[in-house]
């Protein structure tokens, strides 16, 4: 006979409350805003899907979305291979391990806005070490005026800040591979590339999936650093979705369109994360199968 234990619900209650307060209620508020219009005060009018149609049709949104997609694509294309390469090069034993791990963890400990400020000052042409250095070398670099320079600065900054995360995740995957795998490969006469392709890569695949998802979501939602460094400029060249959204919601106080846009933004992230997850797990079916097997 199955015994019903009603006290179990009592145990779940605190978690439900936290999730409700932190996620469900705010999300529902946004949904509420996205289908209404207001002229100030506390008066709201039902507008249906009008805001959604307006956002999806607007060029401003398309441009910001393209910029954000490009930024995420570049970040993933650089940070994932670089992270794997550094993790492969890291020492596996001895004192050097702790040294490297601490060195790798350092950028991760710095708050976003501090990272932004550091690079903002670092890149300044008048006083910044990087900006001034480049200028004195005769290189024309100015992230406040040149689009390419602004993008380069943001990408280098993000790579500096977040590649460590990929490195640490990959490293944890690599050190968990038993020594005998390498020994067996050596006996087989496998090349360095074959060892990477057939032993290391499959073995770190699952942590790599986490790294890709985290880096995608973070870079797609990037706000603080470009806000501090470029403020979305020059022009609108670094106005990513998040910056655009804040301008719309806080700057212009267009609550309805901003709410609709944040929902679309949220759905895009959800969709793309699902796509990444599906592609990476189906590349090779043993990720799903070994969950049960091991």
């Amino acid at each position: 006979m199955k015994v019903q234990n009603n006290r179990a619900w009592l145990m779940v209650l605190p978690m439900l409350l936290i999730v409700a307060l932190s996620a469900i209620i705010p999300l529902m508020t946004v949904v509420n805003y996205s289908v209404q219009d207001t002229f100030g005060g506390n008066e709201f009018f039902w507008v249906g899907t009008e805001w959604f149609q307006e956002i999806l049709a607007s060029e401003r949104f398309h441009n910001a979305l393209q910029r954000t997609l490009l930024f995420s694509a570049l970040i993933l294309a650089i940070e994932i291979p670089l992270g794997i390469a550094i993790a492969l090069a890291m020492p596996r034993r001895g004192m050097a391990v702790s040294f490297c791990l601490v060195l790798m963890a350092l950028p991760l400990l710095i708050p976003w806005n501090v990272v932004g400020t550091i690079w903002q000052v670092f890149g300044r042409v008048d006083i910044g070490l990087l900006g001034h250095g480049l200028a004195s070398l005769g290189i024309d670099y100015n992230y406040t005026q040149d689009t390419l320079d602004a993008w380069l600065t943001l990408i280098v900054m993000d790579v500096w800040h977040w590649t460590s995360l990929v490195v640490l995740l990959c490293y944890s995957g690599l050190v968990s591979i038993p020594e005998v795998y390498y020994q067996a490969a050596r006996i087989d006469g496998a090349s360095r590339w074959a060892v990477f392709r057939f032993i290391q890569l499959p073995k770190i695949k699952r942590v790599l999936l986490i790294a890709v998802l985290l880096r995608f979501m973070d870079s797609f939602m990037i706000y603080t650093e470009p806000f501090v460094v470029t403020g979305g400029g020059p022009g609108n060249s670094t106005t990513f979705l998040s910056i655009d959204l804040v301008q719309m919601a806080v700057g212009q106080f267009d609550l309805g369109p901003a709410a609709a846009m944040s929902l679309i933004y949220f759905l895009i992230i959800l969709l793309l994360s699902w796509v990444f997850y599906t592609i990476m797990t189906s590349l090779d079916n043993d990720a799903a199968a070994s969950k049960g097997g091991q």
Binding site: P178, V180, Y181, Q183, A184, R186, I187, D188, G189, A190, A194, F198, I199, L201, P202, K203, D284, N285, D286, A289, S290, G293, Q294
Partner: protein, 371 residues
């Protein structure tokens, strides 16, 4: 033939192998028997060329192989862990050493199918290793070793991670699988019973030294040293310290003399061995310790021990007891439910006993020493 002479290996001042000399012939199964950390894996790594010994010679078919790169030796190895390429199918896993060797496609296919048939892997060729059971994964690893047709096959506790039934099954197949290769087959195990089932030759390893090497059964029946006898006993060899004073043998612990009828054959053995040892160790295997009701020759003697715990398997009972401060195990036929703490009497035939001198060397009748 793989010949090792006076191999020494130390890492960071810790000795892993000490003066190991062995001659392992092609087509024979050679077992390395010893507990964990006895040097089995270190020895295999040296044989494989993964580690270079500090001193000593290693030759294969008369040619020195020290310094020859691992991948250039004709070598296959199977481990305790199931080592396969995770992203490749079973077929590609088995084929991988042949692909590295750049064999023709037909040849690869023929060899893979043959190995798969031998190891009953045909239904699983398109699967990934993670979708197989542990026993099947190890079969894939064995098939990889088999297709290579290596002249040296090293099996490092290949069955240790398998459950009892699969282990029995694979153990029965293993010697025949590799027999046709005509390779030097080396098999490491911690279990004396496994060595006995597999047969062949056995080298007993202890702290990086070969205690004794010879045909498995001969070594079991006729160990040279106390250590070899201990290594090759399961349940552990029962021992008790004896002292010879004049023409009597006494238990060292209690100074109690053994009965004359018991002491006589033992003293005769000591005399025949030409030993003048005073401090002796008597060793007897668990299954030679019998129930006191069993029939025994007049020379038999009894011991009284306090029962610690009794494990009953059904057909046998392992009675763990304390005899003169030593942990003993009596392996009795049938069910013997002795209560913990009970004093029981057991019978031993001196003819079943081994005697060792102070150095641990076994005392034998002179005429036995010929082999």
């Amino acid at each position: 033939m793989l010949k090792l002479s006076e191999i020494n290996l130390a890492v960071d001042g810790q000795r892993y192998l000490e003066d190991v000399s062995l001659e392992l012939k092609r087509g024979e199964l050679n077992i390395l028997l010893g507990p964990t950390l006895s040097g089995k894996t270190s020895l295999m790594r040296v044989m494989a060329g993964l580690d270079r010994p500090d001193s000593g010679a290693l030759s294969f078919d008369g040619e020195s192989v020290i310094g020859v790169a691992v991948q250039r030796r004709e070598l296959a190895m199977v481990y305790q862990q199931f080592i396969n390429y995770p992203s490749l199918t079973v077929y590609e896993n088995i084929a991988s050493p042949l692909r590295v060797a750049k064999l023709a496609k037909d040849e690869i296919d023929a060899r893979v199918m043959q190995a798969a048939a031998l190891l009953k892997l045909e239904p699983y060729l398109e699967r990934k290793p993670a979708n197989l059971s542990g026993g099947q994964q190890q079969r894939v690893a064995l098939a990889r070793a088999l297709v290579k047709r290596a002249s040296l096959v090293l099996l490092d506790e290949p069955l240790a991670n398998l459950d009892y039934k699969l282990r029995e099954e694979l153990r029965a197949e293993l010697p025949t699988l590799f027999a046709e290769l005509g390779a030097v087959l080396v098999y490491a195990t911690t279990e004396p019973s496994e060595a006995l089932v597999l047969g062949g030759n056995t080298a007993c390893l202890h702290e990086g030294r070969v205690e004794q090497f010879g045909p498995t059964l001969g070594l079991y029946r006729d160990p040279d040293t106390l250590m070899a006898a201990k290594l090759f006993s399961d349940p552990p060899l029962n021992t008790v310290a004896l002292q010879r004073i004049g023409n009597s043998l006494r238990y060292k612990e209690t100074d109690q003399a053994l009965a004359e009828s018991t002491a006589a054959p033992l003293l005769a053995l000591i005399e025949s061995a030409g030993s003048d040892a005073v401090e002796l160790t008597l060793g007897v295997r668990g299954h030679h310790v019998r129930d006191s009701s069993a029939q025994c020759s007049p020379a038999c003697f009894s011991i009284t021990g306090r029962v610690d715990v009794t494990e009953i398997t059904g057909s046998e009972s392992f009675v763990h007891l304390d005899f003169l401060g030593q942990p003993w195990v009596a392996l009795l036929d049938g069910v013997h439910a002795h209560a913990s703490g009970a004093e029981i009497e057991l019978t031993i035939d001196p003819a079943d006993c081994f005697l060792f001198d102070e150095s641990g060397a076994r005392l034998r009748k002179q005429c036995e020493r010929v082999n």
